[in-house]
Symmetry: C2
Subunit: 427 residues, 2 copies
Amino acid sequence: MQKLNQNPNIVLAEIITIGDEILYGQVVDTNSAFMGAELGKIGIKVKQITSISDEATHIKKALDEARTRADVILITGGLGPTKDDLTKKTLAEYFGVGLKLNEQSLVDVTEIFQRYGREVTEINRQQAFLPENCLPVRNVLGTAPGMWFEVDGKILVSMPGVPFEMKRMMTDIVLPRLQQHFGLPKINHKVIMTIGIGESFLAEKIAAWEDNLPPNIKLAYLPKLGSVRLRLTGLDNGTGDLETEMQQEVDKLSQLIPEYIFAYGEVSLPEAIGHLLKEHYLTIATAESCTGGNVAQKLTSIPGSSAYFKGGLIAYDNAVKVEQLGVSETTLQTFGAVSEETVKEMAENIRQLLKTDIGLATSGIAGPTGGTPEKPVGTIWIAYADAHQTIARKLSYNKTREINIEYTTMAALNLVRQSLPEIFRIG
Amino acid sequence: MQKLNQNPNIVLAEIITIGDEILYGQVVDTNSAFMGAELGKIGIKVKQITSISDEATHIKKALDEARTRADVILITGGLGPTKDDLTKKTLAEYFGVGLKLNEQSLVDVTEIFQRYGREVTEINRQQAFLPENCLPVRNVLGTAPGMWFEVDGKILVSMPGVPFEMKRMMTDIVLPRLQQHFGLPKINHKVIMTIGIGESFLAEKIAAWEDNLPPNIKLAYLPKLGSVRLRLTGLDNGTGDLETEMQQEVDKLSQLIPEYIFAYGEVSLPEAIGHLLKEHYLTIATAESCTGGNVAQKLTSIPGSSAYFKGGLIAYDNAVKVEQLGVSETTLQTFGAVSEETVKEMAENIRQLLKTDIGLATSGIAGPTGGTPEKPVGTIWIAYADAHQTIARKLSYNKTREINIEYTTMAALNLVRQSLPEIFRIG
């Protein structure tokens, strides 16, 4: 069905989350952010997010209000035996229908129990009974099926509040069905990951390119901890090959800012560095002072990182820098622990000690105390060393301890990308 | 003013957040969770959270709806020059009043600009103009003042969406004023931090104590990554000394579960371990395999941790375990890297290498790959060593890589607390 007003760009949605734990601040509502972003990607705009209590009257009131402003209503929470299936019962009442057994849902619930070698309980069997007027939405990861209702041309979908169950349902079933139902045009996305340049400087650098984007391609800036994601959204207007058209724009952009792009697509910096090292059979070791293990932690957060990460030393105390890492006492006394000289020795020495291709080091004052007039809090040195070169950079941050550490970690990983010989580069 | 129905326990609130960035999922709404939790602490119950778009008509509609169900309406967002002060203008329109200059707000704005050595711009001067019928709420951290309205016995407060500005306003001004306005009884909180026991087992162990709590003291379970926070909320009913009464209940609880309590008050486990080590002049070093630096990272996330954390080795590769950490090749070959024998050597050796009082080690299979039938993914060993003893524990998790690493880190830190000689204990 096409939307009545024939303008597919303004399908509006409302998200309703049910559960006291969100209202009382015991849980942060991350589900709605996921749904809002995913709906946006297929051209559906979220008009309101409403979080309400576990009460039937409140749910019905919220549904009435939502129907006055939205074409699509997505509900999460209030399903499952511990919630007494409140949402399901309330929806049946709201629509004035009974519950009937859905065979497929019963098979699904039974299968989940068999997987854990248990018998289906009567309570869980009840979960396969759904309002007569709904289309079930399969839940392959849990026992509470979703429900899809169509009323007066509006779509209402009820899903569990468990994030991974909801996400799987959205991706596999709800989003494609919404696209089809509203006859939404094909939308494409291309993501370009950048690092090392702030949002406003980036915007300036690519302003001319952005201004010349075709009218069916839009750009969004999505900044996060020192990295800026650029997302192109293309609307298929039937005049050409959208994929080719978008790739051309990405190519133009790549030529404008090659030094800041670390990946194409939704890839984190530790993942991108991991790919790069793995692809070229390079190994790495870390020597960290102020980051206290955070660089190693980020590198090893990636599955399979043992292929390139051999290990690291956290040389917090100066004695450890000297005795374990072999930094010269003269260097430490002459230049201090937070200096170009020290951080270079750290990177070079860890590389030799752990017999890796690359050594990466950090040393600085994360704060909140420990600063001096010459080296205030946020003064940080990072260094990269390989068989042919050692490169150091000075950073100056003026943030909290936590953010100083995070930014330094990102800058250190980025230094690997920037310092690798040309033939190993991504860009 | 006392609430009309004279039942101070049911003051109801609605939170309205204004801004497309939340609707489109670019930002997760953490403000509402903070406000919900803080209101709960003074006995105000959040009935609904409504996130709406940056549009005057939508704001007015939401206000109308909120007034039908709440005594208190807290609004965040839509203030400040970049937002065109939409919320302020809309509120003036909604109440049919004009804007007038608030001298104190102008002084505050001017002061903030002077701090950065800049002149107040005309746009920022406009921020000191507020709706005639409001009481200004000072913003000591930013240029947009908050606004407090009283209409038909209901309270409506508008605050900036910048989290740290909003939080400061809530804590310093809004919460105390709400308590006073509604004549809310004094409420006290006591938080007890536990680790090493799941919520349901904990609930069983303390069921009798919980059942016997005086009617004016309530208990809440707040679980988070392997740790469970217990929060007692006491209502001053004027019959005795609430503080003493609550402390007695905490004391009883302490005797029931001494082994699981790691702190009193809102203290994280790394902080608690840090206090403990610092207090007793003890030093620690880490030798990590599967946690990849996460234990050290957590320890060094605490300001001042250099007093007790000397450093650590991340021995990801077995060669690093042998060459840098001195784990015997025979041990590795006979028992494997993930074994009691290896992890004990790791803890003992890092302690000797870095000359610390305590050595802490982890070795395991974080996943998603690398498991075997005998040692499936999630098989993890941790060990603690001091001058007198070495203690190892086997863990078995069946979660994602990220959660396996987080749980192992918490368990390792907890092992320090559990293994320290009696005289150093907290409990």
